[in-house]
Symmetry: C2
C-alpha cells in the first residue's frame, strides 16, 4: 500500500470535514461538531489563514489528517508548531500512519525554524503519553489551560476596565 | 493618569523587548531570554506574521504588554484567541492595567468572531487562578502540554516513518 502525506487543498475541505466528523465520532463528541466545509474553507484558505492541514492518503483514500498552526515562545521570540488534532481512521490503524504524520510535522517544524513542536494530551491517556514520550516529548506537568467562551467571554468583553 | 492600549508598531519592538526582559526578570528567567529586537520585528511584522502584541501606555510610558496569536478549535472550525504573555511592570501594578489588557483582548476576540479566548496558568498559582475564575474563565483540569524541542525534535524530524 502506498501512503502519502499532502497539504490539504481547497478542494479537500469536504474530505477533511468527513475525517473531522470521524474523529468526533471516535471521541463520542459528534454532537459538539459545528464545523462545516464552508467554515473550514474560510479558516484554511481565507484571508490571513491561521491554520494548516495535511491529509494522509492510502492508495488514494483519505485515511488521516493533522491540523496545526503556529504558536509562539516570547522568550525565544520564535514561532513554534502546535498540533491541534491528529486522526487516523480506525480501519487504517496499526500501519504507522499516526507516527508518520507526527514525523512529517516535526520535519516541517525544523524546516521552518520553529523552536518547539507542541500538542496537548489528556492526563489520563497513559498509552498516548507513553507513545509521545517514546518520541522524545516531555510532558509539562504544571500548566493548565484557562478558557473563556460563550456568555462569559461576551460579558468580559463588555466590561469597562481600568 | 492616562492609560491607553495600542497595537505594537514596528518602531515599538525595542520597548517590547525591554518589557519582555522585565517579565523574565520578574520570573527569574532572564537567562532564558534569547529574544532580540530583530527577531521580534521578524515575527510581528515579517511575511505572514503569526503573533500580535499590544502595549499599555501610562502617560506616554510603556508599562505593560500582551502578546497573542490565533489558535483553533477543530470541532467549531473557528479560530480562537490565545494569550501567550501578559505583563505589567511592578511600579504600575494595582491600577487595573492587567485586567484592562485582558478585557481589551476579550473584546478583540469577540470582534473577530473567535469562539474562545484561552491562556495557560501554573497550577500552583492560586491567586492567578482565582482572578481568572472571577473573570468567568474555566480551568481545563485534564489537558497537559507535550513539548518536543532541541535535539529530540531534530531526531524525530530525521526519522523515516511508515
Amino acid at each position: 500500500m502506498i501512503f502519502r502525506i499532502e497539504p490539504a487543498r481547497v478542494e479537500d475541505c469536504g474530505v477533511l470535514l468527513t475525517l473531522i466528523r470521524g474523529l468526533a465520532e471516535y471521541e463520542r463528541l459528534l454532537h459538539q461538531v459545528v464545523a462545516s466545509e464552508e467554515r473550514l474553507r474560510a479558516e484554511l484558505f481565507g484571508t490571513r489563514p491561521v491554520i494548516e492541514a495535511v491529509i494522509g492518503w492510502e492508495d488514494g483514500h483519505a485515511v488521516g489528517f493533522a491540523l496545526f498552526f503556529h504558536n509562539f515562545s516570547t522568550f525565544l521570540a520564535r514561532r513554534g508548531l502546535y498540533l491541534e488534532d491528529l486522526f487516523v481512521v480506525p480501519q487504517a490503524r496499526g500501519r504507522g500512519y499516526g507516527k508518520a504524520l507526527i514525523v512529517h510535522l516535526a520535519r516541517l517544524a525544523v524546516e521552518r525554524g520553529c523552536g518547539r513542536f507542541e500538542w496537548a494530551v489528556l492526563d489520563w491517556n497513559q498509552p498516548a503519553i507513553d507513545f509521545y514520550q517514546s518520541l522524545g516529548a516531555q510532558l509539562l506537568p504544571d500548566w493548565r489551560v484557562c478558557r473563556l467562551t460563550g456568555d462569559a467571554l461576551e460579558r468580559l468583553s463588555d466590561l469597562r476596565a481600568a
